[in-house]
Structures are given as structure tokens and as C-alpha cells.
Amino acid sequence: MSEFFQQIINGLSLGSIYALIALGYTMVYGILKLINFAHGEVFMMGAYSGYYLASWLGVERYQAAGRGFPLGLALVVLVLAMAASALLGVLIEALAYRPVRSAPRLTPLITAIGVSLFLQNAAMLLFTPNPRAYPPILRELRFAAGGVIVTNIKLAIFVVALALMVGLHLFVQRTWTGRAMRALSMNIDAARLMGIDVNATIRATFAIGSALAAAGGILFGLDQITINPLMGVLTGLKAFVAAVLGGIGNIPGAVVGGLLIGLAEQLTAGYLSPDYRDAITFLILVVILVLKPEGLLGVVRQEKV
């Protein structure tokens, strides 16, 4: 039984990272009907910005002195990496998506793949293709309770992800920019007529989605110990599956989808074989597309005439 709880804890922690990334996919899709294939690379760049920021703030010195990295500085790393990735997301939108926004839908999809490949290769050039050990911006503490081992890192991942998701929910529901985003996802021309600046709102959407992905990147680095320039490919794809599973375009759906994918992966690895942990995600994708293509929380959209 303790084995089971262990897997659940690990699954929720991994799943909350997927959820953070899935939110960016789903927010952009909800408004632009665009699958932002470069989103996995924004996640990767977020992890690397966290890496460099932590080293700039002297994480090695703390490590060498046998002291933990101060929590305040860890938060600074998180916030600055989120800001840097927000900027990257806004840049990608301005350079690669806005110029082709009125083109047929296949065109932005192809530029998205282009940006994704560009960022992967730029990262290999800039950071070398070698995996890097992630700096210990949180020193690991272990708690054992009834045979279940919980680390402060798994807890921190869950808490940070949860806080960001609650923050996003409040932002989307309570602020005027959040309302503008929802209005845009429902009817873009009507939103324009309300006086909503569509370009500014899309920029905000990319900024927020990218910032959440960066947070996911840092948490992923903490969880998985190493990062590399291609880490966004598989993880990004899994987060995308999570968004589809929950119902793409649907914010609570992305959270539910992310947590379910994380749980499915951990339980498969624990009880079946670690070899199948990646396969299970894509099996879920096939099943959901066949049985409920609109996703768990998605609604079938009727095209009005």
C-alpha cells in the first residue's frame, strides 16, 4: 500500500509540471486555434534560464560551503526565469505567428515547428548538447511516513504549481485582461468591438503561458536532476497530450489532464515497467481521440451559421 501512495505522490508532482506546461498550450489554442509547437522549447529555455540565474546568484558557493541556497534567492530565480521566458514567448508570437495570423491554419503550424527546431538547435549551440546537472536551488530533505518517502522537492513542486494555477484562475476570472482573454477565445470580432486590443491580449496570453512553462522547466530540473536542450520535445508533447485529454482550450481541463498523465505515467512505471512510461501517454491520446475527441472537460463546439 505504501508503494501505491509513493507512486501517487510522485505522479501528482510530475503531473503538476505537465499541467503547468499544458496551460500554455491550451490558452494559446483557445484564442488562436494554434498548436504552439515551440512551447516545449520555451519550457526548456525556462529551465536553462533558471540554471544560469542560479549559478549567477552563486548557488555553487552555497553548495561548496555546505549551506542550502536561500529560499528568497530560489524565488528570485523562479521569478526572473519566468520573466525571461515571458519575453521569449512574446518575441516568438511577434516574429513567427503574428505575421501569418491571417494565413491558412497550416502556415502558423509550420512556423511553430520551425521555431521549435530553431530553439532546439540554438540551445545545443549555446548550452552544448550535453546534459547538465541542475543546481540544487532547493536542498533535498526527506520525510518518511509509514514507508512513504516524501521529499521537500516533490512537495515544493506541487505547492508552487498549485499556487501558480490558482493565481492563473484568479487572473483569468477577476482581471480585465483575463476577461479580455476569455472574450477573445469566445468571439474575437465581438471582443474587438468591446474595445479590446487583440494584439495586446494575445501578447499577454503568450507571456503568461510562457512564464508558466518556465516555472515548469525549473521544477522539472529539480525533479529530474538533469536538463538538456532536447528536454522540451518529449515533455512538451506529453503536456500537449495532457491539454488534449482535458479538452484543449479549457483551462481546468489542462490541469486535470496534466495530473492524470503524471499519475498514469508513474503508476505504469511502478507496476508495469518503466519501459512503458512514455508509451502510456500516447496510448491515452489515441483512446481519448477515439472515444471523446473533445476531451474530458471539453464541450462540443457548435459552429453557428
Binding site: W176, R179, A180, R182, A183, M186, N187, D189, A190, A191, R192, L193, M194, G195, I196, D197, V198, K304
Partner: protein, 247 residues
């Protein structure tokens, strides 16, 4: 009483030589007209005459291929839709275009996106609810669950929340039962009494000519006839083509 304000130096809306193209095909071919402050002007014409295209070009939802649009004395030809809303020109689009997943209250509040001061927003909400009946009891309901007539009321009320000076209405009677149409046009007349300038696009020619001061008749993208509604009502060409009366 609420007729055009002759003292206003410039009309609220001035369109000159407007052309709208869809993939090289001209939907609007050189339309010119103006609407003075406080005036109700109707654009009438058959399906496909280009009425909706004119309205969309006026608010910038489709680009003007040629010609100019002046709003409140300022050139607005190339500026984006949200800035025309900020100038004070708001379109209530055909088919209502309400935010189906939001509540009636959220829809109305979004209408005040550019005028969101919480104190006056509450007052405006009350004023709008007094002008457009039946929305008050449905504030917490999702917009998409309203009936067609209620959605039309909501779309008009939402536009009023932004305190426009010029209201553009695209087919407010579309798909509604005659009783509801009468109610909505009653509201439009009430709204006009508050001093708003109105450009009304309507397929129901009789109703449009009864409501507006002046009208322009659009045929395949061109204005073929203009005049005061009182005169147009008796014009034999109008009677034959649009009012269904034999010559």
C-alpha cells in the same frame, strides 16, 4: 425633438467613396453618405446588397479597399476596431455575437471594457437595464442560454455599456418574432431619445423607414436612392421593390 443637430459642425460619421473587396470581388463600390449628430439613418436593401460589409468597414472589421471613413470629424480609415470603439463608434453585429460562455452580467461589463470605473459602471448597468427590458432578471444566466430576442437585447445593452456616441445596428430584427421585433425597435427609439446617433441596417424596409429620419437604398454595393424616410415611404420604386406593393 430628437432630429438631426444642425449646429454640429461635422457629422458623426462621414463615408466617402468606400470600397470593400473580398478576394478581388467588390462587395461595396464607392458608397458615400453621412450621419449627423442625433440622427437615425437607415441603410436598406436586399440580401447581399453589401449592407453588412459597409458596417464592418466602418468599424474596421474588414479593411476599406478605397475611400475614407471619418468618425466625429477625425479620419478613422486605417485604425483598428478597438480604437474606433474608443472613439465612440460601436457596432452591434448581425447574429448578436454575445459571449455565450459568460453570464449576462459579464457580457454587459465587457461592454464597458474601456470605461471600467467601478462607480459609474454600476450606474450605467442600472441605466442600461432600464432601457433594455428583461435582462435584469437574467444577470447570472449564461449568455448562450438566452432566447434570440434576449440575446439581441443583450448585444444592444452591452454596446450601450461603453457609452458610445454612434451606434451601428446590423439587422436587429433578424430571426425574431414580430412581437419581439416591435419591442426591440421600441428600445431603439428610446435609446435614440438619449441623444445617440444611430446607423441602422435593416432588411425590414417598412420598419426601417418608420424608425429612421433618412435612408439610403443599397443595390449590389452602390447607393441608388437616398432621401428622407417620409418621402421614401411614398416613392413608387421603394413601394414596388421593398414594400411589396404593386405599382
Amino acid at each position: 425633438m430628437n432630429g438631426p443637430d444642425a449646429s454640429a459642425s461635422e457629422p458623426d460619421l462621414e463615408v466617402a467613396g468606400l470600397h470593400v473587396l473580398y478576394g478581388g470581388i467588390a462587395a461595396v463600390k464607392g458608397v458615400s453618405f453621412s450621419v449627423a449628430r442625433g440622427e437615425i439613418v437607415a441603410l436598406i436593401g436586399a440580401n447581399g446588397a453589401g449592407k453588412t460589409s459597409v458596417l464592418k468597414a466602418l468599424v474596421g472589421l474588414v479593411p476599406a479597399a478605397r475611400g475614407s471613413v471619418r468618425l466625429f470629424g477625425r479620419d478613422a480609415t486605417g485604425i483598428p476596431t478597438h480604437r474606433r470603439t474608443a472613439l465612440g463608434a460601436t457596432l452591434v453585429p448581425e447574429g448578436r455575437a454575445i459571449f455565450a460562455g459568460m453570464t449576462v452580467r459579464e457580457n454587459l461589463e465587457l461592454g464597458a471594457f474601456l470605461k471600467r470605473d467601478p462607480v459609474t459602471l454600476g450606474q450605467r448597468l442600472e441605466r442600461v437595464l432600464a432601457l433594455v427590458p428583461r435582462l435584469g432578471e437574467r444577470l447570472a444566466q449564461a449568455g448562450g442560454t438566452l432566447s434570440g430576442g434576449e440575446q439581441q437585447m443583450l448585444a444592444i445593452g452591452r454596446a450601450l455599456m461603453g457609452e458610445p456616441r454612434l451606434l451601428l445596428l446590423d439587422e436587429p430584427s433578424l430571426g425574431l418574432a414580430p412581437k419581439l421585433v416591435a419591442q426591440i425597435f421600441g428600445s431603439i427609439v428610446e435609446i435614440a431619445k438619449t441623444g445617440l446617433t444611430i446607423l441602422l441596417v435593416e432588411q425590414n424596409t417598412r420598419l426601417a423607414l418608420e424608425t429612421a429620419h433618412r435612408a439610403h437604398v443599397l443595390v449590389t454595393g452602390e447607393i441608388v436612392l437616398s432621401g428622407r424616410c417620409s418621402e421614401l415611404r411614398d416613392d413608387p420604386r421603394i413601394k414596388a421593390a421593398y414594400l411589396g406593393e404593386a405599382l
